[in-house]
């Protein structure tokens, strides 16, 4: 890996770390950086997942005080998301390369839209709680599981999806949703990461450069919270995601 590429990955990692600490959506910046570093798409995706996984872990640890008590329901959610993440990662590695490359721009675009409309999605899902009774554990776990398969497969926008699903299934404790979301996202990320590493789908030099940046960025993000307002960071991520969607649509589809 040459110096230019290392610096690109380090910078993308720092940006991703800051973005994740303030607003989320780092993958929309870091995954294209892995592609720009010259990695094949599936390897880039797996390496990216490993590089930003410590960020999820740190967020989950920081919020552990707000977690709901370990009822049967939460334990089954944890198990389901771990399994979902592992299945998603397995599908990514088993699928022929072109079946990931072709929908790639659509995946980036979908995550950007999720991210852009997160506030609307959130207020809509919170509105649902008034009409519905608490959904059964089985139904909730099934929906969560599907979301987590997507999370293990691609991952961008998983936080938005999880928040939306949890605000429908767990409407009684709004404050616990964020902590639970972070815990489940960590389970997905760790399960997927483990599979990527065991299957040798991770390019370590690129991953370590980005991981280092992401840790530094995550740390800096906590201190930048007064300087960089979250809405501005959110808009930056949406614009970046839109630009990346167009660049990769032009590259893979035209």
């Amino acid at each position: 890996m040459d110096i230019q590429t290392s610096l690109l990955l380090l910078a993308a990692g720092i940006a991703g770390g800051i973005v994740n600490a303030l607003a989320g959506g780092a993958t929309l910046i870091t995954f294209p950086a892995m592609l720009a570093a010259g990695l094949p798409a599936v390897i880039a995706n797996a390496s990216n997942a490993v590089a930003i996984s410590p960020g999820h872990l740190i967020a989950a640890l920081a919020d552990r005080g707000k977690l709901p008590p370990p009822t049967r329901r939460t334990i089954s959610f944890v198990l389901v998301s771990t399994l979902g993440g592992a299945i998603g990662a397995g599908v990514l590695l088993l699928l022929p390369e072109h079946l990931f490359v072709l929908p790639g721009p659509a995946l980036i675009g979908f995550a950007t839209l999720l991210f852009a409309f997160a506030p609307q999605i959130q207020s809509w899902t919170i509105g649902q709680q008034k009409t519905a009774t608490l959904p059964s554990t089985r139904a909730s776990a099934a929906v969560l599981g599907l979301a987590c398969v997507y999370g293990g497969f691609f991952g961008a926008g998983l936080g938005v999806i999880l928040t939306a699903v949890l605000s429908v299934t767990e409407p009684n404790d709004i404050r616990a949703i964020k902590a639970l979301k972070n815990l489940l996202a960590t389970c997905v990320s760790l399960a997927a990461t483990l599979i990527f590493i065991v299957e040798g789908a991770v390019r370590w030099p690129e991953t370590l450069a980005m991981l280092l940046g992401a840790m530094a960025g995550g740390y800096a993000g906590g201190h930048l919270i007064r300087v960089l307002p979250a809405p501005v960071v959110r808009q930056f991520v949406i614009v970046a995601g839109a630009v990346m969607t167009m660049i990769y649509a032009a590259r893979y589809w035209l």
């Binding site: 890996m1 040459d2 230019q4 590429t5 720009a36 570093a37 010259g38 990695l39 094949p40 599936v42 390897i43 390369e97 072109h98 040798g200 390019r203 030099p205 690129e206």
Partner: protein, 234 residues
């Protein structure tokens, strides 16, 4: 330790030749192209190429097809042990962009890979390649104009109705190297083809327009990673 590439014939028409390399931490080569499609199979470690101002990495378990005529500069491999097999296949099916795919096999040694499997991987990549754009034919026309006559660059430029400087800029933009460098690479490819046909090195050097055998040897090694003497030996 600088390892050289080991070349061998595949003894069949659909694979022109095979080249293998094993080592760590060396072997950056000059930018060059081939008259055939080059299939790069990386068994362990990784290989990186500089193509069109971008770095492309081919990790272990992946194959890349570098289309005929595409300028690429192999970059030094990192310090991990790398095992790589190149197969050169006739450019009978057009392809205009580089593609990297994973092959689902864990080979340890290059001789475990059958020619059938090589052709299958190459065919798989080529069958998914987009049909070549018109830009490609513009490129090959330009390349042909440079190599089919021995006239000075200025005369070739004039025959296309361009100034020497304007022509040089166009060649650099379209082909990636200056006109003289492009001609030199074409002659190195010719030298390689003549040697493959069994011509002695001294005659090859003369026929491909090199001032002497050592001139050919020096440029051949910097570009293709081995000397003509070693390349030619069966």
């Amino acid at each position: 330790m600088t390892n050289a590439w080991t070349y061998r014939r595949a003894d069949r028409d659909d694979i022109v030749e095979l080249a293998s390399w094993r080592g760590a931490g060396s072997l950056g080569l000059r930018p060059h192209f081939h008259d055939e499609h080059q299939l790069v199979l990386v068994l362990s470690g990784s290989r990186s190429f500089r193509i069109d101002g971008e770095t492309i990495t081919v990790p272990a378990g992946h194959a890349a097809l570098i289309p005929a005529g595409m300028l690429h500069a192999p970059m030094p491999t990192p310090d991990e042990e790398t095992v790589c097999l190149n197969a050169y296949v006739p450019a009978s099916r057009a392809c205009s962009s580089l593609r990297v795919v994973s092959f689902r096999a864990r080979w340890q040694r290059v001789d475990e890979i059958s020619p059938e499997r090589i052709l299958e991987i190459a065919g798989d990549i080529l069958s998914r390649a987009p049909s070549p754009s018109t830009g490609r034919t513009g490129r090959s026309k330009l390349g042909a104009a440079l190599t089919e006559s021995l006239a000075p660059i200025g005369a070739v430029a004039a025959s296309l109705g361009r100034s020497r400087e304007g022509f040089s800029r166009m060649v650099r933009r379209e082909l990636g190297v200056a006109p003289h460098a492009f001609r030199l690479l074409a002659r190195l490819n010719l030298a390689r083809q003549l040697q493959r046909a069994g011509e002695p090195i001294a005659a090859v050097a003369a026929d491909a327009g090199f001032s002497d055998q050592s001139h050919l040897t020096r440029l051949f090694r910097r570009t293709f990673g081995t000397t003509p003497g070693v390349y030619w030996r069966d």
